[in-house]
Amino acid sequence: MAPDIEVDSLDVWYGQARALKEVTLHLGPGRVLALIGPSGCGKSTFLRVLNRMIDRSPQVRVKGAVRVGAFEVLAGDVDVTALRRTVGMVFQQPNPFPMTIFDNVAYGPRIAGLRQMAKLRQTVEDSLKKAALWDEVRGKLRRSAMSLSGGQQQRLCIARALAVNPQVLLLDEPTASLDPVSTAKIEELIVQFKTHYTMVIVTHNLQQAARVSDAVAFFEHGRLVEMGPTHDIFTAPRERRTEEFLTGRFD
C-alpha cells in the first residue's frame, strides 16, 4: 500500500547555510505533490531528504522529523537501503547505466539478491510494461541502454525504479531535458501511477504541476510558503508571493 509522508518542522543546513526552514507538511497515501518555486528555493533539497540522498552532501545538519510510512527517515539507525528501495527516485537527466536495457532494469532486483533468471525476466518485463516502454524495446533487451532516445531512456529509468517495488516515487524535474512528445508520455505515466504510488515531483513547468498533481507546495528561500490542493493554488492562492510567482511577476 502506498504510504503517507509527514514532515514536522524540518530544518536543513549545508555547513552554516540554511537550505530549509521549518518545513511542515503532510501528504496522504497515493497522492501526487508538486514542488514549485524559484531555483535554489530548497525543493530539490527537500526531495533528497525523503530518500536520504542528501547524505551525499558534505556537512549536512538537520532538525525536525520526517516520516515516510513506517520509516523515521532522519533517525540515526534507519535502514537506508530499505528506505531507498521503498522510495524510488527519477532524476533530471536520464541516467541509465552503461549496460544493456535488461541489466538496467534488473539492476535493483539483483542488488537486492534476486538471482533466478525466470523471476528476473518477469520483473523486467512487468516493469517495462508499467513504464510503457515494453512495446518499443521487446526483443532488443540485449542492446545498450545508450542506444535509446532521451525520452525512452527516462522511461527506462522509471522502469528501473519500479523494478524494486517502491511505494513512493520522487521525480526531480523528470522532463526538464525532454522534448514535448516525450514529456507528454511521462506525464501520462504519472497520472496512471496515481493511487498506486505516493509521488513527489519537482518541476519548473507550472502547467505540468497543474496537469499531474493533486497538491502543490510553493517554496521560497527554504521556506514552505504555501501548500494546498492544486486547483486552489492555481486559482486562488492565499499568499501574495505565490500569486506573484504563478503570474510571473516575480523578482
Binding site: N51, M53, R56, P58, T81, A82, L83, R84, R85, G88, M89, F91, Q93, N95, P96, F97, P98, M99, Y107, G108, I111, A112, C157, R160, A161, V164
Partner: protein, 282 residues
C-alpha cells in the same frame, strides 16, 4: 596572410624533421634487425635460449620470457595497490585531503626509476634473500620493484577515471537501494572500464620498457624463467651487451633485433590504447 604562410612553412618543417628523424631511428634499428634475420632466421632465435654471442648463438627466448614474466608479475602485484589507491583517492577522500593525496601520488610518478632500483637493492633484494635463502636477485625482485614503480602511474590514471564517473550514475544506483560497495563494484568500476584499460596499457608499456630499475635487481643471466634465480629481460640485456658489441658486428645486429621487438610491442600497445579510447566514446 603572409605571416600565415611563413608560419605554416616553418611548422611544416619542424613536423617533417620530427618525423624524418624518428623514421630514421626506426630504419636504423630495422636495418640491423634485417641483417640479423637474414643471417639467423626469424623464428629460430625466438625459440632458443642459448645466448652466447662469442659462439654466434643468439637465442633470445630467455629475454622475451623474462620481459613477459617481470611485466606480468609487476601488474599482478600492483593491481591491489592500484585499486586501493584509486578508490581511496577518487571515492573516499574529498576536498583538501583529496588534492594532497593526488599531489603526493604525482610526486611518486616523477621519482626516477633509478631510485626505485636503489630501493630494490636496499630493501627488496635483502628481504627476498632472507625469506628464500637465495641470493635475492631475479625476476621476483624485479617484478616487485616494477610493481612499486608503476603503482603511482597506474593509480593516478585509474583515480582520474573513477573520479569522472558522473554522480548521476552513482545516485541512480544508490537510489535503488544499492550500498556504496555494490555501487562501486557494479556501476563505478564497470563504467570506468575504458579509462582503466588505458591505464593498464600505459602500465604495461612502462614495465616492459623499464631498464635500469630492473637491471639493478634481476641479476643478469640468460636463463629461461626461474623466479628466484638471476635472469634478464630484453631491455636489461640491451644495456649489458651494448658496451660489449660494437656496431656493425653480428652481435650488435642481435641487439637491434631485440630493440625492434620492443618497438613493435610499443606500437601494438599504443594501437590498443587508441582502440580503447574509441570504445569510451562510442
Amino acid at each position: 596572410m603572409r605571416a600565415d604562410r611563413i608560419a605554416s612553412l616553418v611548422m611544416k618543417g619542424a613536423l617533417a624533421l620530427f618525423i624524418a628523424v624518428w623514421v630514421m631511428v626506426a630504419v636504423i634499428v630495422g636495418a640491423g634487425a634485417w641483417r640479423f634475420v637474414s643471417a639467423n632466421g626469424l623464428v629460430g632465435p625466438l625459440l632458443s635460449s642459448r645466448w652466447s654471442p662469442l659462439a654466434a648463438h643468439y637465442g633470445i627466448l630467455a629475454f622475451v620470457v623474462g620481459s613477459m614474466a617481470v611485466t606480468g608479475l609487476a601488474l599482478v602485484l600492483a593491481a591491489p595497490g592500484v585499486l586501493a589507491l584509486s578508490v581511496t583517492g577518487a571515492r573516499i577522500l574529498r576536498g583538501a585531503p583529496q588534492r594532497a593525496f593526488i599531489q603526493i601520488l604525482t610526486l611518486f610518478v616523477a621519482v626516477p626509476s633509478v631510485v626505485y632500483g636503489w630501493w630494490g637493492l636496499s630493501v627488496a633484494v635483502p628481504l627476498i634473500r632472507r625469506l628464500t635463502g637465495t641470493a635475492g636477485f631475479g625476476p621476483l625482485s624485479a617484478g616487485i620493484v616494477l610493481a612499486v614503480m608503476i603503482v603511482p602511474t597506474f593509480s593516478i590514471m585509474a583515480l582520474q577515471t573513477l573520479r569522472q564517473v558522473p554522480s548521476s550514475l552513482v545516485e541512480g544506483s544508490l537510489g535503488l537501494g544499492a550500498t556504496e560497495d555494490q555501487t562501486l563494484w557494479h556501476v563505478i568500476l564497470p563504467a570506468s572500464r575504458a579509462g582503466l584499460s588505458q591505464g593498464f596499457l600505459v602500465a604495461v608499456g612502462r614495465a616492459l620498457g623499464e631498464t635500469i630499475a630492473v637491471q639493478m635487481v634481476i641479476g643478469g643471466q640468460s636463463r629461461v624463467l626461474s623466479l628466484l634465480k638471476p635472469g634478464a629481460t630484453l631491455t636489461t640485456q640491451l644495456l649489458t651487451d651494448l658496451a660489449l658489441m660494437p656496431a656493425r658486428t653480428p652481435g650488435h645486429d642481435a641487439l637491434d633485433f631485440m630493440a625492434l621487438w620492443l618497438m613493435i610491442l610499443m606500437a601494438v600497445l599504443v594501437w590498443l590504447q587508441s582502440r580503447v579510447k574509441g570504445m569510451s566514446r562510442g
